[in-house]
């Protein structure tokens, strides 16, 4: 019997693997190039690259961008939508808005299914679920014949008010199944039984277009893992931060639309909680963008307003991730009115930052970090060499000369503007929501997170920065940590006075039965099942609701209401205790606990720091004057640092997949979990 847990996270450029041996507590990490033509190949190669024999694996989990990429590239098999007569264009009409308010030449992308492939049939249900017009079965069969003739592989069935009564959709599905054997059918009342046609229809359409591709992908990967000797279920990370088995993916393909993005947030939560921080802000900074997430009280924030592209919401609960165009490759530029800007344009992989020597001439954040000597000239263990001269000349021509500054001051300005943009984004997810950054730890990861983390923390008054042991493969770690999770919901629109506790109890129990059945099929033992009831509420007349936990027993509703007032006050700085309340929706989180890995841990001991591998002049901002000054800074190899070691800044800590910059006026240490913790000291502004 083996003891390995393997997590593989597929990204755009690399596929990362994180392996943990449950018996020894040892971990291994690796990276192989992604294989976009057949993403599953890199998944297997990644496991092989770190010497994993699938026979020794007890749990294989996986985060993937297969679904996200398919949605972005519109790479779907022939698909069709069937809807109520008169509503063929709901998904094209959307809510009418554009994300770019002023540029009349920028459009919202087209819907996932073109107009020519959208059909309607006669039927109608009213808002209470009563039948206004029966489903015309003759029409339905004629339509099925047409879809067969067209060679459609997957169909979304989306009828008006089906959240109140799904009978017509169910019948339509039966007819299509009879007439079109082998074709996948998604109905909106199964996929997302919630009010509001565009949200429900589009989520169902996304599910339908992804079903064949994602279904086949997970089936093939499962088979290959099984052939290799793996006996368990492949677990796929879904957008909500839990995982699901291939069986459920076949039905809810769109739930893994944000699979790859969720992993980083999960890892952030785990690392922070393990280190004793219930509140954390995750900063996952890569080459072209930065993903920011927030963990509060040990929970990630979940949103139901999520989309891959503007206008096409996928309304499954998804981890809230804010992505901004700020990464190592983001360009520094000067706008026509003479203001220094940073991003969102990026040098990307080609031409890349100037210092890569691959043709880029415009200054990037990476170039600025090289000029400031924060980033060494040898990366990835010597596999990549950066040119300080090219970095310098890019900063000089692009920024220093126009502003009549020294090159180092210019580089510092570039980094500060980049940090300010990231700080604004962090403010939007924290202060905007009523969270005080001073109560948080900043978890800095991704290729560039640890370069900027400490400065960003100072800007935001965040007291501590946590740099995990393997910043570059942190997302893969996230895949290793998730439980199986399903989110169910049912509409329940009633004023508090009209709410019937017995009726609510019945609805909760129905959901609990359905969720338990799912988890049982997935092989979760009953004692490993957690069921959490929730209710979405609002002040009568408000349009958005807040979701709060609901306990059991006769006092449950009253307690939930008290919780609602408190949450409203925390989130929006006010509550109206005397205002009437309305319930909007009941929900259930069903969690199948998977055994948690024990990550390496070592009690800190007082130990001498190793001799720095070098000492170099790193440029930092001089206090109070805003210009850059060189400070002799020791450079350590991370592998040589043990729990308990630490010192005051400055320092630079190098490792294969990242560089950590510890500025002056901070102290750092390695904690029991092998994280670097940087403590920001108060400085006078």
């Amino acid at each position: 019997m083996g003891s390995l847990r393997v997590a593989v996270d597929t990204g755009g450029t690399f596929t990362d693997v994180f392996v943990l041996d449950d018996e020894t507590g040892e971990s291994r990490v690796g990276k192989v190039p992604s294989t976009p033509d057949d993403p599953g190949r890199a998944v297997l190669e990644a496991a092989k690259a770190v010497g994993v024999d699938l026979k020794d694996v007890v749990l294989f989990s996986h985060g993937t961008t297969v679904a996200t990429n398919a949605l972005i590239t519109r790479n779907f098999p022939p698909a069709a939508m069937v809807t109520t007569k008169g509503f063929r264009d709901v998904i094209e009409i959307r809510d009418g808005t554009k994300n770019d308010l002023w540029d009349a030449y920028k459009d919202v992308a087209g819907p996932y299914i073109k107009r020519r492939d959208r059909y309607d049939v006669t039927e109608r249900i009213d808002f209470e679920g009563n039948e206004l017009e029966a489903l015309d079965e003759n029409e339905a069969r004629v339509l099925a014949g047409r879809l067969r003739k067209k060679g459609v592989k997957t169909v979304a069935v989306c009828f008006a008010n089906s959240y109140a009564n799904g009978a017509h959709e169910k019948r339509m599905k039966e007819i299509l199944t009879e007439e079109l054997p082998g074709v996948r059918i998604s109905t909106s009342s199964e996929v997302l039984p919630e009010i509001f046609e565009h949200d429900r229809f589009n989520t169902t359409v996304a599910n339908a277009v992804l079903a064949p591709l994602v279904g086949d992908y997970v089936a093939k990967l499962s088979t290959n893992l099984e052939l290799g000797g793996y006996k368990g279920d492949l677990l796929l990370l879904h957008s909500g931060g839990g995982s699901m088995t291939p069986r459920m993916v076949q039905k809810y393909a769109a739930r893994i639309a944000a699979s790859g993005i969720a992993a980083g947030a999960i890892a952030c939560r785990h690392l922070a909680t393990a280190a004793g921080f219930p509140n954390a802000i995750g900063l996952d900074m890569g080459g072209t963008s930065t993903d920011i997430t927030l963990v509060y009280g040990g929970e990630v924030r979940i949103t139901k307003e999520w989309s891959v592209e503007y206008g096409y919401p996928i309304c499954f609960p998804s981890i809230e991730v804010m992505t901004i165009g700020a990464g190592g490759g983001s360009l520094a530029w000067i706008d026509p009115a003479g203001s220094l800007r940073n991003g969102p344009q990026s040098a990307g992989a080609t031409p890349g930052p100037a210092c890569y020597g691959t043709g880029g001439v415009n200054p990037t954040n990476t170039d600025a970090n090289v000029v400031l000597n924060r980033l060494g000239t040898s990366l990835v263990g010597g596999a990549m060499t950066l040119s300080p001269d090219l970095a310098r000349s890019a900063i000089e021509q692009g920024v220093a000369q126009p502003f009549n500054m020294s090159v180092e001051d210019a580089a510092l300005a570039v980094v500060k503007v980049a940090n300010a943009n990231m700080a604004d984004a962090v403010r939007l997810v924290s202060i905007r929501r009523g969270y005080d950054p001073r109560e948080f730890v900043l978890v800095a990861f991704g290729g560039a997170g640890a370069l900027h983390g400490a400065a960003l923390a100072r800007e935001l008054s965040i007291p501590t920065v946590l740099v995990p042991p393997n910043p570059g493969v942190t997302s893969a770690l996230g895949c290793l940590l998730v439980d199986i999770r399903h989110d169910l919901s049912v509409m329940y629109q009633k004023s508090l006075g009209a709410a019937d506790p017995a009726e609510m109890e019945g609805l909760y129990q129905t959901m609990e039965a359905e969720a338990s059945a799912h988890l049982k099929l997935e092989g979760v033992a009953p004692d490993q099942v957690l069921l959490e009831r929730t209710a979405a509420m609002r002040y009568l007349g408000q349009w958005r609701s807040l979701t709060v936990a609901v306990g059991a027993g006769s006092e449950a509703l009253g307690e939930a209401v008290a919780r609602f007032h408190r949450e409203h006050a925390r989130e929006f700085s006010y509550s109206r205790e005397d205002a009437p309340i309305e319930i909007y929706q009941l929900g259930l989180r069903a969690i199948g606990l998977t055994p948690k890995p024990k990550l390496a841990k070592q009690d800190p001991v007082a130990a001498e720091l190793p001799v720095p591998k070098s000492v170099r002049e790193v440029w930092f901002e001089a206090e109070g004057i805003g210009s850059a000054v060189p400070i002799a800074t020791p450079v350590y190899e991370r592998a040589e640092l043990l729990p308990g070691m630490g010192a005051r800044g400055p320092a630079v800590i190098d490792q294969l997949d990242a560089t950590t910059v510890v500025p002056p006026h901070t102290s750092w240490k390695i904690d029991a979990n092998w994280n670097i913790l940087i403590q920001i000291e108060e400085v006078s502004a």
Binding site: G86, F87, R88, D89, V90, I93, D95, G96, T97, K98, L101, W102, D103, A104, Y105, K106, D107, V108, K114, R115, R116, D126, F127, L132, R146, K149, K150, A160, N161, Y163, I195, F196, E197, H198, D199, P336, A337, G338, S339, L340, R341, F403, A413, A420, R427, L428, I431, R432, Y539, L540, G541, Q542, W543, R544, E571, F572, S573, Y574, R576, A685
Partner: protein
């Protein structure tokens, strides 16, 4: 609105502090938007008909919200200025003001601004403003949209600047006086609180910045952010040629005269780095509510211009580079008290924007765009008889439509109006719960896009049936039933707006594009289309393959592919979406249209109207081929309107058609 301030060439603040604060101010304002979206009560605010701003102590806008609706831009600072004027020396920490007055720079009575002064110690340094559309503010009809109102007394209550909170104490009596004059007292009270709390979020954020950077730096940054925008704007203007341009767009008619298009005239002059707009030759105020106060008209000027400079942030720096002469009071674009103005958004506002689009399309052909559909609101109000207590209900609906064809790109289908592309339409499933109205259709209208080399975007149709109500009436606020959304550079117009009751039934009735208080009974059906956008360029030059694609998606019918584009498409297998272009027939059809089309615009309009009444010609034939405008219900000819419409077609379309080969 005039200025001679020389913009500073450089900032006093270092580049990093400046960039950080500039972005921070945007965040401070967007924080308000985020909060108001999550806490509002009015479904109109929820649909994003709101805006927020940070205004300096002199009443100049430092930053406007990045997601605000277009229709409010350029107006928020007028609200702060009205408060400064009224309460000079009597503004204290903890005060919060309200104002909705269109005659002091507001838009219409529904748009209520809640304004919180921000102090640093004892010094007033700024105002945080939250403006939101309350769903009802009294007046004759539910929703406060009375087309027939001639004076503001019929439209709703007028809130001149008033203190709602006095040094932190809520003035319950004042608030109750206000909401007691509306049909939505509870919701309005909820929004008063929600908006006031939202401005508190902005205040806290500005205080944070003051603590960190010091008051002087922040106040300096307020100035410099405006200087920055002014500098950016002037630089861009100075790169354009000097000159003078003029055009008019038109409101359909003035009920006092029956027919004849009513001009909104715009003359634009660029001199060096300054743009001047002169709207003073626009028509006298009309006898419906399609008039505009000076604030809303200035907003149209700003929003129209801004569309051609999409990347420039909006604040008073932008307004300094743009001057505007609206002429004396009493016109459609400068209606003084007490002329009715609630319909400004469907009337002069969109005409100002569209006229400015046309002017700029000539100056920046790479951003050219034809006319888009008109903002429209359909309101049905009465008592909901589905429950015993029969509460008031309001089915208050607006639609997306088609935007104009562009240079190199078809117009956008199904997009929110010029009024603000952030304005979201409501899901009918929500409406069906809240009101006794069942939606029967929400669908793209085939052939609604104006033909052109680049087709106008498609409009949609939404209709329904009243089920179980009492004493219900219907009102409609729209325009462009006669001055149909036009094409440019040779493109053709799209489709007329207007509401039909019981369409296709014996009791069919065409109600037009502006009416109010029309009784509607249980079981009555109604429907209306939104227009498509006008076309860009000669439709005979649109490649047949592109017309074929449109036919496959039924954006264009086979019939009109032939009439409008001269492209003859034959069906092979509709089940498989297989159609093909008959190349030979297309060639001769195109030649025939090219030879005759100019003369169609001179055919006897009475005869054409008769052929419409007999069913031989369709509304689209009249509009696109003959330039004839009639009452779409009765077929009665509007001779004066037709004459004007034909002139416009000659100017915008015929001018650009090459002589037949």
């Amino acid at each position: 609105m005039t200025t001679t301030i020389e913009p500073k060439q450089k900032t006093v603040l270092d580049p990093v502090t400046f960039e950080v604060l500039k972005n921070s101010f945007t965040t401070s304002v967007d924080l308000m938007s985020e909060q108001i979206l999550r806490t509002c009560h009015s479904f109109v605010i929820y649909a994003r008909d709101f805006s927020c701003a940070l205004v300096d102590a002199k009443g100049n806008t430092v930053m406007q919200g990045s997601q605000d609706v277009a229709v409010h831009v350029g107006t928020l600072h007028f609200g702060a200025q009205a408060i400064l004027k009224r309460f000079e020396g009597d503004i204290h920490p903890g005060d919060i003001f309200g104002v909705n007055d269109p005659y002091s720079g507001g838009t219409h009575f529904n748009d209520v601004r809640i304004v919180r002064p921000i102090f640093s110690e004892d010094e007033l340094i700024a105002f945080a403003m939250s403006m939101g559309h309350w769903s009802d503010v009294g007046g004759t009809v539910p929703g406060s949209f009375d087309v027939n109102a001639k004076e503001h007394f019929g439209e709703g209550f007028r809130m001149v600047p008033v203190k709602l909170w006095d040094r932190g104490v809520f003035r319950q009596d004042v608030a109750e006086l206000i909401v007691a004059n509306t049909r939505a007292a509870e919701a309005n009270l909820g929004d008063m609180h929600a908006q006031a709390e939202a401005t508190g979020v902005c205040e806290r954020d500005i205080h944070r910045l003051v603590d960190k950077y010091g008051k002087d730096t922040i106040v300096t940054a307020f100035e410099e952010v405006q200087d920055y925008v002014e500098r950016l704007t002037r630089k861009r203007i100075s790169e354009l040629p000097d000159g003078e341009w003029e055009t008019s767009d038109y409101i359909d008619f003035d009920p006092a005269f029956g027919e004849g298009l009513i001009p909104v005239n715009v003359r634009m002059t660029i001199t060096g780095d300054q743009i001047h707009y002169d709207l003073s030759k626009s028509a006298p105020a009309v006898s419906s509510f399609l008039n505009s106060g000076f604030g809303a008209s200035f907003s149209g000027v700003v929003a129209g211009t801004k569309t051609f400079f999409p990347d420039i942030p909006l604040n008073s720096g932008f307004y300094r580079a743009i001057t505007c002469d609206l002429g004396p009071e009493g016109t459609v674009v400068n209606a003084g008290w007490p002329i009715a103005v609630t319909g400004f958004c469907s009337g002069p506002y969109e005409k100002i924007m569209s006229a400015i689009f046309e002017l700029w399309s000539g100056i920046m052909p790479e951003r050219a765009i034809a006319c888009s559909f008109n903002l429209e609101y359909l309101l049905i109000g009465g008592r909901d008889a589905r429950t015993e207590n029969k509460p008031y209900f309001m089915w208050y609906d607006w639609m997306v439509g088609g935007w104009g064809g562009r240079n190199g790109k078809d117009g956008a289908n199904c997009t929110s109006p010029l009024f603000g592309v952030g304005l979201a339409v409501q899901p009918f499933e929500g409406q069906e719960r809240l009101t006794p109205v069942i939606t029967s259709k929400h669908e793209i209208v085939t052939d609604s896009g104006g033909p052109g080399r680049y087709r106008g975007g498609c409009g949609v149709e939404k209709g329904g049936m009243l089920t179980n109500s009492e004493r219900s009436v219907m009102s409609y606020c729209c325009d462009r039933s006669r001055n149909v959304a036009w094409g440019i550079a040779g493109g053709l117009p799209s489709t007329p707006h207007g509401v039909w009751m019981n369409k296709g039934l014996p009791a069919e009735k065409y109600l037009g594009a502006v009416f109010s208080n029309v009784p509607i009974q249980n079981g009555d059906t109604f429907t209306r289309p939104s227009a498509g956008g006008g076309g860009y360029g000669d439709p005979l030059l649109r490649p047949a393959a592109e017309v074929l694609e449109d036919v496959i998606d039924a954006y264009v019918s086979i019939t009109r592919a032939a009439i409008d584009y001269g492209v003859v498409v034959t069906e092979i297998d509709a089940d498989l979406d297989e159609y093909e272009v008959d190349e030979e027939a297309t060639k001769s059809m195109r030649a025939s249209i090219a030879a005759k089309r100019t003369s169609w615009l001179s055919e006897d309009a009475q005869e054409i109207a008769e052929r419409y009444r007999s069913g031989e010609l369709s509304d689209l034939d009249l509009i696109r081929q003959y330039g004839v405008i009639v009452d779409w219900g009765t077929g009665e000819l509007f001779p004066k309107t037709t004459g004007q419409f034909r002139e416009l077609l000659r100017k915008r379309s015929v001018e650009y058609w090459k002589a037949p080969a």
